[in-house]
């Protein structure tokens, strides 16, 4: 195991302020506080070379957990071990072996080209000049950042900047890469490119990847395992496949018939109907696919049919809403 988290908890104290000037005045003389349990008794472990998605709605505690794991925040309770090290006691030693990208925060210097930031970051990680040169050449080739390597960061597009951010976090060849919302704000094409790059560094260099994202495609396309957190608590930990196929026993049937659909069965819900086309939702806990199919075949002439699992977005929102 490269990462072990056991009973991790973190509570923040926050001031409660009433609205308007009156609230501000009251808050000044008799402030009220409330405790927010950002992370509550979380335990999991990650194996070497895994790509794990750590997902949850806004304010679920994803970033706080990453910050606790990387040693940025001190936990109130619990134990964290990263590469058999305590992130606080061994902060400097651990920093040489992990990399992190916080999509919202940049580690590149805004007014200087990425090549200068890479050079400085290489020195921060104690790399010699030839090592930095070799590493930058490799990352430039993998991330295809050559054309804008010497252009000031402020002049880069968001997609170009994120590619440089991830490359910068890999300058010291870390064993674990933490990515907090790496595809936030990117267009579809760039998102796809970033996903390919993450997969490539995982396969080529056996880098363990631990990522948070709101984009279900990120999870579906690059992760094998998913951990879902909501209101500071873990609500699901398993493979992406398992989540999609077993967690929600529902299937979607898209069917085109030669006549309008007429199917009144328990466990089958008509989601959409347009002329002779229909979209049905089958609840496998109530009926079986065999029964539904034979009913359809007996009652209708089918022109076309497709069966799919629930879209990932819906699976995840059901988990968030406590539907599973």
């Amino acid at each position: 195991m490269v990462l072990e988290v056991d009973g991790l908890s973190k509570t923040f104290k926050s001031r409660v302020k009433g609205s308007g000037f009156k609230g501000s005045l009251k808050n000044m003389f008799s402030p009220e506080y409330r405790s927010i349990e950002a992370v509550n008794d979380i335990s999991f472990s990650v194996e070497e070379g895994e790509i794990t998605a750590f997902i949850g709605p806004n304010g679920a505690g994803k970033s706080t957990t990453i910050k606790l794991i990387t040693g940025i925040l001190y936990p109130d309770e619990g134990r964290v071990s990263v590469l058999n090290m305590d992130p606080h006691k061994d902060r400097k030693k651990l920093a040489y072996r992990i990399g992190a990208v916080f999509g919202q925060k940049s580690q590149l210097w805004y007014h200087l080209p990425p090549s200068d930031s890479f050079d400085l970051l290489g020195s921060i990680y104690n790399l010699s000049a030839p090592e930095i040169k070799k590493r930058v050449a490799y990352l430039t080739q993998v991330f295809e950042i050559g054309p804008f390597l010497n252009q000031a960061v402020r002049k880069l597009s968001l997609g170009q900047r994120i590619r440089c951010e991830i490359a910068a976090s890999l300058i010291h060849s870390p064993e674990i890469l933490f990515l907090d919302e790496p595809t936030i704000g990117l267009d579809v094409v760039v998102k796809q490119r970033i996903r390919e790059l993450i997969t490539r560094i995982n396969q080529d260099s056996k880098v363990t990847v631990f990522l948070t994202s709101h984009d279900t495609c990120d999870i579906e396309k690059i992760c094998r395992r998913v951990i879902v957190i909501n209101k500071g608590q873990m609500v699901w930990d398993g493979s992406v496949k398992q989540m999609k196929y077993s967690l929600l026993n529902k299937r979607i049937i898209n069917v085109r018939l030669e006549e309008p659909v007429a199917l009144n069965m328990k466990g089958v819900e008509l989601l959409k109907e347009k002329g002779c086309s229909a979209k049905l939702e089958v609840d496998l806990t109530v009926t079986s696919m065999k029964k539904v199919m034979s009913a359809l075949v007996t009652r209708h002439n089918i022109s076309d049919i497709s069966i799919s699992t629930m879209p990932m977005d819906e699976v995840i929102s059901s988990i968030y809403e406590g539907g599973v």
Binding site: G71, A95, A100, K105, Q107, W109, D116
Partner: protein
């Protein structure tokens, strides 16, 4: 660490020069700004004739040269210290905590305030225009300037670290550090107790400039040792307060870039 600090210096200098015109305006602007005050003191001493509570024109000019060079060095080599509060409350300390370096030197040395070059130039020019060229005096001036830069930065760290505990101490820390600079530009002898106690502790103007000025005027080993002990105590205190605050750091999710 020294290798990295050297790298930061070169890196920040090239970042500053990215906007050449702005760089030169800042440097010369600061130089001219400082010159204006010297005319004020010249006129004052001409009118009074003699000295102010034992401080002659040359002594006041030493204070100005020391303050300019010390402050300039702090801004050039440890220019990020003035932003510690905002770095804390914006949650931008994350980047430094993820790097394999001692946090405080990495944090304070990672930025340069280019205007500081104006103060550095001004301090050196003023010293050679108004003070002795004797090598031991020049050496003393340089050592005291470096000490001032380090102690002044330590004071900044102490007050800005209060942000960890209070939520935002940026303005308070800014006021205190401005007061340190303001007081050291006047002869220390014009202040009397209890203000002297404050100026030896909470606003340590005496430690950063007045006592060095006394030692420069007439060398006293005992005084020097007391000064060095007090300086070390302030530096240790800054590390202790910052480290204690770090445990309270709550980060944040505000968008940010490194400038």
């Amino acid at each position: 660490m020294w290798k990295l600090l050297k790298k930061y210096f070169v890196f920040n200098l090239s970042a500053g020069m990215e906007y050449r015109a702005s760089f030169l305006i800042q440097v010369f602007g600061m130089f001219l700004n400082n010159c204006a005050f010297i005319f004020f003191w010249m006129i004052l001493y001409k009118r009074i004739g003699g000295d102010i509570n034992g401080y002659g024109f040359s002594d006041v000019m030493f204070l100005w040269a020391l303050a300019a060079l010390g402050y300039g060095l702090a801004e050039v080599f440890m220019g990020n210290s003035r932003f510690i509060s905002s770095i804390i409350y914006k949650g931008e300390l994350d980047v430094y905590l993820l790097q394999p370096r001692a946090i405080l030197p990495n944090l304070v040395c990672s930025r340069m305030n280019t205007a500081g070059w104006g103060d550095v130039t001004y301090g050196i020019v003023l010293y050679f225009l108004t003070q002795s060229f004797e090598p031991h005096k020049v050496l003393m001036f340089l050592v005291f300037s470096i000490l001032m830069a380090v102690v002044f930065t330590a004071v900044r760290i102490i007050y800005h670290s209060l942000t960890f505990f209070l939520g935002n101490a940026e303005q308070f820390a800014g006021t205190i550090t401005e007061m340190v600079i303001m007081f050291i530009l006047y002869p220390g002898s014009i202040f009397s107790a209890p203000s002297t106690w404050i100026l030896h502790s909470v606003i340590p103007a005496a430690l950063v400039a007045w006592i060095p000025a006394e030692i420069f005027a007439s060398f006293d080993l005992k005084k020097l040792l007391v000064l060095l002990s007090a300086d070390v105590a302030i530096i240790i205190l800054s590390v202790v307060v910052f480290q204690a605050g770090l445990k309270k750091y709550s980060s944040g999710n505000r968008m940010g870039t490194r400038i």
